[in-house]
């Protein structure tokens, strides 16, 4: 579905992605794990067009989207829920959801998708007239995911949705990721929360210093010696 081929990317003179190649397959949950600063967020930003590649290719469903402007990437069905939620804090919950559905088909389906989101996240329905900035951390993350769903994604890219949440809430978010995936949405998940994500994902890649290292199914990586010592602290 999504293919990165030898992607190199730099911020000014500092290169942060080195020959990154990987593939996301239709309907799976793919996890990109890696330490802080490994280049996970940079990878997602490159896919969504916020950063331009220095060389390499990004192919989505057969289309070369390497040079596509960021605002058009979403129209292809790739939705990026950025790290740190990045909500529109001075807008209400409902307005944030509306902002997720500005284009094409998603705009036509707006009210219907919104109801589906409220079913998935009843808390957001209770707080729909509240400003996003006044929500709790967990609620904000739910809103960020819901705002992404409003765009009717084919591929949902989530950047550390568990960041800063209490363990109970982390489990809730992962449950939501699973149920979103069950509806047929492909998920590319970026996480530092290695242990729990590896248990429910289909496949995973490890990113180290801007390079793709080991990959395999979640189970394989959980049993990998390097992963155990470097990420699981075993």
């Amino acid at each position: 579905m999504l293919k990165l081929e030898n992607v190199n990317m730099s911020y000014g003179d500092i290169q942060v992605l080195w020959d990154v190649s990987f593939e996301v397959k239709e309907a799976e949950i793919l996890v990109l794990v890696g330490a802080n600063g490994a280049g996970k967020s940079s990878t997602l930003k490159t896919i969504s067009g916020l950063q331009r590649v220095r060389s390499g290719k990004i192919i989505f469903n057969g289309e070369d989207i390497t040079q596509l402007p960021a605002e058009e990437v979403i129209t292809r069905g790739i939705v990026h829920v950025p790290e740190g939620r990045r909500l529109f804090n001075e807008m209400t919950v409902e307005e944030n959801l509306v902002m997720g559905s500005l284009n094409g088909e998603s705009k036509k389906l707006r009210s219907q998708t919104m109801e589906e989101c409220y079913e998935l996240f009843p808390r957001l329905l209770e707080r729909r007239k509240q400003l996003a900035g006044t929500l709790s951390g967990g609620e904000q993350q739910m809103l960020a995911v819901a705002r992404g769903l409003m765009a009717k994604p084919k591929l949902l890219m989530l950047d550390e949705p568990s960041l800063g949440l209490a363990p109970v809430l982390v489990q809730d978010i992962f449950d939501i990721v699973k149920s979103v995936n069950k509806q047929g949405i492909t998920v590319l998940l970026v996480e530092q929360n290695v242990q729990s994500t590896l248990t429910f994902c289909d496949r995973a890649y490890v990113l180290e210093n801007g390079k793709i290292g080991i990959s395999g199914t979640g189970k394989e990586l959980l049993n990998n010696e390097h992963v155990k010592t470097a990420y699981l602290g075993i």
């Binding site: 969504s48 058009e72 979403i74 939705v79 529109f88 001075e90 807008m91 500005l102 284009n103 765009a151």
Partner: protein, 291 residues
Amino acid sequence: MELFLQTLVNGTLIGGLYAIIGIGMTLIMGVMGIINLAHGQIMMIAMYITWVLWQFLGIDPLLSLFISIPLVYVLGDLMARYLLYPLMEKESILPENQVLMTVGIGMVLVELARTIFTSDYRSVQTSYSDIVWRLGHISLSVPVVIDFFIAIAFTGAMFWFLIKTDIGRSIRATAQDKEAAILMGVSAKKITILTFALGSSLTAAAGTLFLPIYYLYPDVGPIFTLKAFVITILGGLGSTVGAIAGGLVLGIAETFGATYISMGYRDAFGLIIFLLVLIFMPGGLKSLTKV
């Protein structure tokens, strides 16, 4: 007491016009992150358009709103598209350079006006210019009252647009988090150009409305840029509701100063308020409400 009330009313009426100048400036500041130091000059252009339409074609200023606003919209679009946005695209160029660009635009507009229209004072005398309504002991100048209500209508329409339409929401979203807005499919370029053109149109509306009650000469531009700046700072930089409050405060302060102290220093009182706010309330009026 009557004088006090009269002054308050006059100040409020002028403040309504100041408010739309301030809202225009605030929108531009929110989305582009810059102070538009050509704001008053753009308003001056609208005033000259209105004056020409009156002088040579006999068109009433209220009607020329329908001409001056679209013309200035196009002017604002072109300035943003070809002069300001190209500076924004290059990350290496500091936002300060865009501000300098607006200074340059402002100077060019003033000198252009001086070349074409000379420095002579111009004004427009409509049939209703001198009509006054009496409300008890308070007298209301008809053109000023009409202008005030039109300003309220523009303000209302602007708020409706910002709150109820996708494009309006996109403008607010871009001001709050540009990168997140881009991820939602908002074109930062389109929104930037649109916002500058809209902000310019609002101040154009104010200019056209001001003409029958204000003298026009090229240096009116810089004076109003300064007023717009004061209103925006009073409003707490980037808050549209704050800009309305800022406009009213400036209008009332100026009118009180002119009435109770000296007519000649009218424009200075706004600046005094401005300095006081900068010193004692750096967050603007917004800091009073803690929002």
